[in-house]
């Protein structure tokens, strides 16, 4: 097991983080005994083969799953043992998610998809719309605002997903294989976009991936195998 520590103010602080799933009469270990600190403003790349525990770790950090053991604090909020209402507020305010298969809602258009987290959080609709248009403009998608989300190309869909992830101004963006369904050109563009958000807006990024596309922009690279971090505690 490898401990990861960061010199700056930690936005993620995990101690002995464990997630074990029941499966039939036995159990499957998702992650076990993870100790991890990520500082504000870092761009951390998490690498590991399929089934190594990348997605489990991201789900725990996003408040989508609850740890079986250990302590987890993200953006100053302790997540272990929190009620669902607190976790919903946490997801609205503290984190943004980007998925491999984009997960845009096909029934909404591009602008509505981007606005959705703000609307779900109860923000003012006009303000949400203005912020979404601003983000789309910045991501080069302003001409696509009224298009149905499922009519876009893969690269465009992932850019929309990134805009959706950051509309509520989260401190942490969790990206799970965001380039997995894209060609190398579009993949590179998505990584550059995340790096720009990290650089310009100070958004902390934790990116789980198989690929090497993000190696150049990462402030630190972690490796995970069989549910445990195996790379050196401090990257780059």
């Amino acid at each position: 097991m490898t401990d990861a520590e960061a010199p700056l103010e930690p936005i993620v602080c995990a101690r002995n983080l464990t997630r074990i799933y029941p499966l039939g009469s036995g159990t499957v270990t998702g992650v076990e005994g993870v100790n991890l600190d990520i500082a504000r403003g870092e761009f951390v790349v998490l690498k590991g083969p399929s089934g190594s525990g990348k997605s489990t770790l991201l789900a725990l950090l996003a408040g989508l799953d609850a740890p079986s053991a250990g302590e987890l604090t993200v953006a100053g909020r302790r997540l272990s043992g929190r009620p669902p209402g607190d976790l919903t507020r946490f997801r609205r305010e503290a984190v943004g998610m980007v998925f491999q298969s984009f997960n845009l809602l096909p029934t909404l258009n591009v602008l509505e998809n981007v606005c959705l987290p703000a609307l779900l959080a109860g923000r003012d609709e006009r303000e949400a719309r203005r912020r979404a248009e601003e983000l789309l403009e910045r991501l080069g998608l302003s001409g696509r605002a009224r298009h149905p989300a499922d009519r876009l190309s893969g690269g465009e869909m992932q850019r929309v997903a990134i805009a959706r992830a950051v509309i509520n101004g989260p401190a942490l963006v969790l990206a799970d294989e965001p380039t997995g369904n894209l060609d190398s050109k579009n993949g590179t563009a998505v990584i550059e976009l995340l790096a720009r958000l990290n650089r310009e807006d100070g958004v902390t990024v934790l990116l789980a991936t198989h690929s090497d596309l993000a190696d150049g922009v990462a402030t630190r690279t972690l490796s995970i195998r069989d549910g445990a971090l195996v790379s050196p505690p401090c990257g780059a």
Binding site: T88, R91, L105, T107, L120
Partner: protein, 862 residues
């Protein structure tokens, strides 16, 4: 054979495993089909048991007679027999009379007393005295030579507590007599009539008890071998004009013809639940085709022929139907117990007296229910199976855009809907086929289909129309729900179609039953008016065949000072196979206190003409069945008189099956013969200060004088009883409706659950981007609200159209009567929100399903 085995293997691997993996939805659909099939099967079995009981009784009565001689509306003089002693065409003859009697003491249930000549009857009907040997011979001889001896069936003897040799006091219309039970009947032939509640006496004893000396109900004839139809016709011509030669099965045929119309109506109504269940099968098979499109494409790419895919999904439908039918058997066995009683009671009230002692498990009825259930499921699976055939192997590599295809489907469904509605409008005015409103039923089916096919467009339009305003009011859950409904309009439309059908049936039947009840209430108030009704004892059960004795008739006015009396006499007649009543009544007095519910003719001008005996009034049913209208003539032979009178008007009447002809009692007596009185009603001449006390005084006086020979019932009591019978008649309808609504709610629950399960990825995405479980729940309820609002709104519109079709076409063609159209706004206003709430409640399983998959699964889905 090898092909079949390999198909079954593929079916087991592809379909059965999938069905088991999604056990919940499969079970819901099977349950829906089972409920529908159970209702259909048990209704048919219940009516079949009643028909079987009735026809069996009629067949035992008919025995082996070739022809029966009767006197319409009256009794035959016994001396008619003399005509047949030496007639060359006649080999054997016998007499038969029946009436209802009851054990003395009041309150006992009447049973059928059959009067026969034990000697003559042996060659006609089968009956045997239990035990055999000398004891039976003795009992038979007793019946012949000893007055007031009776044979009872064993169950009836047990019920009456009268064993062989015991005494038994029986009361009839005008007298009570002591009988001795001379033996018990073996359970065969006549002993099985009316569920075994019969007693047999010698015809002389019968005549003494009933006072019908020298008269019998009918004479049965057997012809010599080789007799020709011409000889039979000659025999009929030789009979006096007031006698008729009939087929022995005429009574059975006319009775079963009436019951069959009722059976058809109930069958169609019960089919509604199965029809709603059909939507469920369609819904599930269509979902499987849509959700497994990629797998189908892979199968095609691996070499499966299109027809193999077609057969797989058709087999899925068949399997659902088969499982539903099998599950329907235990459900139906419970339901049929309730229905059997309700149906036989209704048949007894409306048509002919039946008494069903046991349920006959008819193989033919079970085969019909199996064929209908399986056929319905196959029809439901046909279209999705056909859709599966069209999956291209290319789709394994390249998914097509389903959105575009759905839009096309919604539009083409709407076009098809318009076609169905146009065909419905064209079919409704068509006349019945063989007395059955086949075109009407087909039109109703097309109406349901038309509205169900319209629902995708309605859903799309509603969701689109509210897209701007609703989210502003109800937030993102309403926006997401509206969009999801628009996207899945075609698929959800199937369940919405089921709800439309159920709500339409509910609305139409609420309107129809309310209209009918309101009309009957008015009819009861006007036509069944009167403060006290008096008939000869057991007049009702004996269909008013036995008049009130003359000495009572002459004394009654003296007891009833301060009352107006309206005398009446009813005759049961037949026109072809259509039985009807002729009622001679005191019109002048009647019009002073009551009135008819006029349908054709001007009441103001007709009342005096009817009162003066100028002509008859006929009921709507009589007019519909015989085609006779005002201006035509009414002709019938009644107790020896040939009645030939003009028809002056048509009135509504809801007595028994409604065929009735009214004429002035006084003028009947003047122009034809004295019909005597079978009943009399009393009206207060002027309203007294204390009507109850005055009525009690009159009742007391009549009971004191002739309480053992007359039946009395208060006007309010009688009118209450009529309305109670009406409500009991429609109790079956209510049960069928509730089941149809339950099946529809099941449809909504299944559809929503399936939609939610299909979109679990989207729902988890919403959670991941900040949606709360509460918002997800709200979204699902909004989706349910869209489906239910369209289902209920369109169902309501369809229901109003359907109510018109039911009242003006189906009912008129089936039963011959119509009623005043009135809408029960309070019932609809109260029940529709309840249906709305129940259908929204159907969203609960979907809500539970929404949180079945953990949101973290999203990160494992690629």
């Amino acid at each position: 054979m090898r092909r079949l085995i390999s198909f079954l293997r593929l079916f087991a691997g592809f379909s059965l495993r999938h069905a088991m993996r999604h056990g919940g939805r499969t079970v819901a659909v099977v349950l829906g089909i089972a409920l529908g099939a159970a209702v259909f099967t048990s209704v048919r079995l219940a009516v079949h048991a009643s028909i079987a009981s009735f026809t069996r009784s009629m067949d035992f009565f008919a025995g082996s007679a070739d022809r029966v001689v009767v006197r319409p509306g009256g009794l035959l003089p016994e001396e008619t027999l003399a005509r047949f002693y030496t007639h060359p065409a006649v080999r054997d003859y016998s007499v038969l009379s029946t009436t209802y009697v009851r054990r003395e003491g009041g309150g006992a249930e009447p049973f059928l007393l059959i009067g026969i000549d034990p000697l003559l009857d042996r060659g006609f009907r089968s009956w045997r005295i239990e035990g055999g040997g000398a004891q039976a011979v003795e009992a038979w001889l007793d019946l012949l030579r000893e007055p007031h001896t009776i044979l009872l069936t064993a169950p009836l003897a047990r019920e009456l507590g009268a064993q062989t040799g015991a005494g038994l006091a029986l009361e009839h219309t005008s007298r009570t007599a002591n009988f001795r039970v001379t033996g018990l009947l073996a359970p065969l032939g006549l002993a099985l009539v009316e569920g075994g509640r019969v007693g047999i006496v010698d015809i002389a004893t019968f005549q003494e008890l009933t006072g019908l000396h020298g008269r019998v109900d009918r004479i049965d004839l057997k012809f010599r071998r080789g007799v020709t139809p011409e000889e039979i016709e000659a025999l009929a011509r030789e009979l006096p004009a007031d006698l008729q030669l009939q087929s022995p099965s005429a009574a059975r045929e006319s009775g079963t013809a009436m019951i069959r119309a009722y059976q058809l109506n109930l069958s169609v109504l019960s089919f509604a639940s199965l029809f709603v269940g059909m939507f469920l099968v369609y819904s599930l098979v269509a979902l499987n085709v849509a959700a497994r499109r990629r797998e189908l494409a892979i199968l095609r790419a691996l070499g499966a022929a299109p027809r193999t895919l077609f057969r797989i999904f058709l087999a899925e439908g068949a399997l659902l139907g088969l499982l539903g039918w099998l599950l329907a058997l235990p459900i139906g066995s419970v339901l049929v117990r309730y229905l059997l009683e309700a149906v036989s009671r209704t048949i007894t009230t409306l048509f002919v007296r039946v008494r069903v002692e046991e349920l006959v498990l008819s193989t033919a009825e079970l085969a019909v229910s199996f064929a209908v259930t399986l056929g319905t499921s196959l029809v439901a699976a046909w279209q999705p199976a056909h859709e599966a055939m069209r999956v291209s192997p290319r789709e394994a590599m390249d998914m097509i855009a389903p959105e575009e295809r759905r839009r096309e489907s919604a539009r083409s469904a709407a076009l098809l809907a318009l076609g169905c509605l146009a065909a419905c409008a064209a079919l409704l005015p068509l006349p019945p086929t063989g007395g059955v409103p086949l075109a009407g039923y087909l039109a109703v089916l097309l109406l349901f289909l038309g509205f169900a096919l319209l629902s995708p467009l309605l859903l799309e339009r509603l969701a689109a129309g509210l897209d701007g305003s609703l989210p502003r009011l109800a937030g993102p859950p309403a926006l997401l729900a509206g969009r999801a409904v628009r996207q899945g309009a075609v698929r959800t439309a199937v369940s919405v179609g089921a709800l439309i059908t159920a709500v339409a049936l509910f609305t139409a039947l609420v309107i129809m039953v309310h209209s009918f009840r309101r009309t009957v209430e008015i009819w009861v108030r006007q036509t069944v008016s009167g403060d006290l009704f008096v008939t000869a004892k057991m007049g009702q059960v004996n269909r008013f065949r036995f008049p009130i004795p003359e000495e009572i008739v002459s004394e009654l006015p003296r007891l009833a000072a301060g009352f107006d009396l309206v005398e009446s006499r009813r005759f049961l007649l037949e026109r072809g196979n259509f039985p009807y009543e002729f009622e001679a009544m005191g019109m002048e007095t009647f019009f002073r206190h009551g009135d008819f519910l006029w349908l054709e003719g001007d009441p103001e001008t007709l009342r005096p003409r009817v009162a003066s005996g100028e002509g008859v009034l006929v009921s709507e049913v009589f007019a519909a069945r015989t085609g006779r209208r005002p201006g035509d003539r009414f002709q019938a032979r009644i107790e020896g008189s040939l009645v030939d009178l003009p028809i002056l008007g048509v009135v509504r009447d809801y007595r028994t099956d409604g065929g009735i002809v009214f004429y002035s009692h006084r003028h009947f007596k003047e122009r034809f013969h004295d019909p005597r009185w079978s009943g009399v009603r009393f009206f207060f001449r002027d309203p007294p200060a204390d009507p109850e006390a005055e009525l009690a005084r009159l009742r007391g006086a009549i009971v004191a004088a002739w309480g053992d020979r007359l039946d009395l019932i208060g006007g309010r009591e009688l009118r209450g009883a009529v309305l109670r019978i009406f409500d009991e008649t429609f109790a079956v309808t209510t049960v069928l409706l509730v089941i149809a609504l339950a099946v529809a709610a099941l449809g909504i629950a299944t559809t929503l659950t399936v939609l939610v399960l299909e979109r679990s990825r989207q729902l988890n995405t919403i959670l991941a981007v900040g949606g709360s479980p509460r918002q997800i729940r709200a979204m699902i309820f909004w989706e349910a609200a869209f489906l239910v609002v369209v289902g209920e709104g369109a169902g309501l519109a369809c229901g109003f159209l359907l109510s018109g079709a039911l009242i003006q076409v189906i009912n008129r063609q089936s039963f011959g009567w119509t009623f005043l159209y009135t809408v029960d706004w309070s019932s609809l206003g109260l029940s529709l929100p309840l249906i709305l709430a129940a259908a929204l409640g159907a969203a609960l399983p979907a809500v539970r399903a929404a949180f079945r998959q953990p949101p973290a699964a999203l990160l494992r889905q690629r």
